[in-house]
């Protein structure tokens, strides 16, 4: 109970900080940076529900990011949807897509799962590229995404858009936090650690994996919607494998074992990206070197390093408790 209230408190604080940035009138560049970080942060955070908590390494997670962005953009362009309706529609459509893709993929293990998700992503990517009349092909959704007012909110205004995205982002974070601290979240950990044993404890492994896959896809879709709103369009590279790869990098940089790890990784990657772009056109080279340092040097993400320290200390305390109890019994 207390844990839940504490998490909500942190969420409230996070939202307050995000809104404060808007109120104090920070430079638009900072606001833009935060908007990008929130959209990609949701992609990385949702992917970590699969990788970090369930042990399902998906290489195709960006397909749901793209499906959210395209479904939202196309719905808005059709003129039949209000913003909230298109929002819900894009999530629902992604859920259906994830249900179909997941039902086929989650039965497979490790490398087979990874490659099949990658294959589905490339299928979607090529569909977007090929179906020019509907998706605009490699030009992306052209003509911008109309954003009619709803409930007095005008998303064509950058500030209001920023506030809207911040709230959507924090709500998604709270939902994910709720999941990982619930019995369902611990069932995911059972599957990650030892799925065979989990089955002998009565866990329906395939079903739980599928539910997690769909939830995670829905949150990636929200990330895609935020990005579509922000750039007022949707582009095929949202569904390209490099977008999935980037979100895996974010998890590697920030850490997969701590809840906020992927978000920290997102911020690191975006900062690196934005800083290096100023000085050099070889951004990828710099990013590659940084990632190599993390993978070969640290072997884990930033927050995981800290978590390991804490864990080691707590384990030592637990050992001394055990030894004291055993000594008391023996004497």
């Amino acid at each position: 109970m207390t844990g839940r209230w504490r998490d909500l408190g942190w969420a409230g604080l996070g939202l307050a900080v995000l809104l404060l940035v808007a109120v104090v009138g920070a430079r638009p560049a900072i606001r833009d940076f935060i908007m990008f970080a929130m959209a990609y942060g949701l992609l990385a955070m949702s992917l970590n529900l699969l990788i970090g908590y369930t042990g399902l390494v998906s290489f195709g997670h960006a397909m749901f990011f793209a499906s959210g962005a395209y479904a939202f953009g196309l719905a808005m362009q059709s003129g039949h949807f209000s913003v909230p309706a298109a929002f819900v529609f894009a999530i629902a459509l992604t859920a259906v897509l994830a249900l179909i893709v997941g039902a086929i993929c989650v039965r497979l293990n490790e490398i087979y799962f990874a490659f099949l998700t990658l294959a589905f992503q490339m299928l979607l990517y090529n569909l977007i590229l090929g179906w020019v009349s509907f998706t605009g092909g490699d030009q992306g959704l052209m003509g911008g995404i109309p954003r009619p007012k709803f409930l007095g909110i005008d998303l064509t205004d950058r500030l209001q858009l920023y506030v809207f995205c911040s709230i959507a982002f924090v709500v998604c974070m709270v939902v994910m936090r709720q999941i990982v601290t619930s019995p369902f979240g611990y069932t995911l950990r059972l599957i990650r650690d030892n799925q065979d044993r989990a089955a002998f404890l009565g866990v329906d492994v395939v079903r739980v994996k599928l539910v997690c896959f769909v939830i995670s896809a829905c949150i990636a879709a929200v990330g895609g919607i935020l990005l579509a709103l922000f750039v007022s369009g949707a582009y095929p590279n949202f569904a390209f494998w490099t977008t999935s790869g980037e979100s895996i990098f974010m998890i590697m940089l920030g850490g997969s074992r701590v809840f906020l790890g992927p978000l920290v990784g997102t911020i690191i990657l975006r900062v690196l990206n934005d800083v290096t772009v100023v000085y050099t056109s070889h951004t990828e080279l710099v990013l590659g070197i940084v990632i190599l340092i993390f993978v070969l040097g640290l072997r884990k993400g930033v927050l995981d390093l800290i978590a390991d320290r804490i864990e080691t200390r707590e384990q030592q305390k637990a050992f001394s408790q055990r030894d004291a109890a055993d000594a008391g019994k023996a004497s």
Partner: protein, 257 residues
């Protein structure tokens, strides 16, 4: 032997792997609240027997009746729900979870209520059940130790604890004393007896140590080459010439008699 009130009744169970018969027409009955040992030489099919009951393998033929319901061919989840729990020869744990977390998570695992699945972990009822199990198994002292950091003996105990969290009626223990020293073995077997008594379990265990088997078990089933060689009380088994020859070896005749 086949009492009508047997809680677990095996009828004509057979299984082969690629032409090799691992289980041949095995029929056994385990009365409610009995404590039975399954023995047999290596490769006799003891673990296969457990695997068939607990749903890892599907039997080629035969029935597994739990309280009159055939569970042969049911999924592992279904079998757990009906009340059969098992522990493994090599402790099968969740390395990154602490003892308390793993037990509570196990208590939640078969929960079907969707709303409770999103409450805060661990629920008060799961915490209480985990505490009780830890107290019974002397694991309270390692409640916060990660499963991967446990000593071998504590790992075996946790493995049993995970199964106990399912509130099973039938508990299958595959060599609870495997890999333990003499003193540790007797401690473990005392714990097993305690569980059996306090939890009203129908307990079946596989064991290699004949001293333990003859001293603890109410009844003993001997498997050999996938078939039932003998069954009876420890005294009957001890005197059974077929068992002595096939399992204990002729030279052991003097030793056990």
């Amino acid at each position: 032997m086949t009492a009508p009130d047997a809680l677990l009744k095996i009828e004509g169970l057979s299984k082969s792997f690629g032409g090799v018969a691992a289980m041949r027409d095995v029929s056994l009955a385990f009365p409610a609240r009995s404590l039975s040992a399954v023995i047999g030489p290596n490769g006799a099919g003891k673990t296969t027997f457990f695997n068939l009951i607990s749903g890892r393998f599907k039997a080629d033929a035969g029935r597994v009746l739990l309280d009159g319901t055939d569970i042969a061919g049911a999924s592992r989840q279904e079998i757990v729900r009906r009340g059969i729990g098992r522990a493994f020869q090599v402790a099968s744990l969740f390395p990154t979870l602490t003892v308390a977390q793993a037990l509570a998570a196990s208590g939640h695992a078969r929960q079907r209520s969707e709303t409770r699945k999103l409450s805060q972990f661990p629920s008060p009822s799961a915490t209480d059940a985990a505490r009780e199990v830890m107290a019974q198994l002397n694991l309270t002292r390692v409640a916060d130790v990660l499963s991967r950091n446990l000593s071998h003996g504590d790992q075996k105990l946790l493995d049993i604890g995970l199964a106990l969290m399912l509130q099973p009626r039938v508990l299958l223990l595959d060599e609870p004393t495997a890999g333990m020293g003499p003193e540790e073995r007797w401690q473990m077997i005392e714990t097993v007896q305690l569980l059996w008594r306090e939890r009203d379990l129908t307990l079946i265990f596989i064991e290699h140590d004949m001293d333990i088997v003859f001293k603890v078990a109410q009844t003993v089933r001997v498997l050999s080459y996938g078939a039932v060689l003998a069954e009876g009380t420890p005294d009957e088994i001890r005197r059974n010439p077929a068992v002595i020859e096939a399992y204990l070896g002729k030279s052991a005749q003097g030793a056990v008699a």
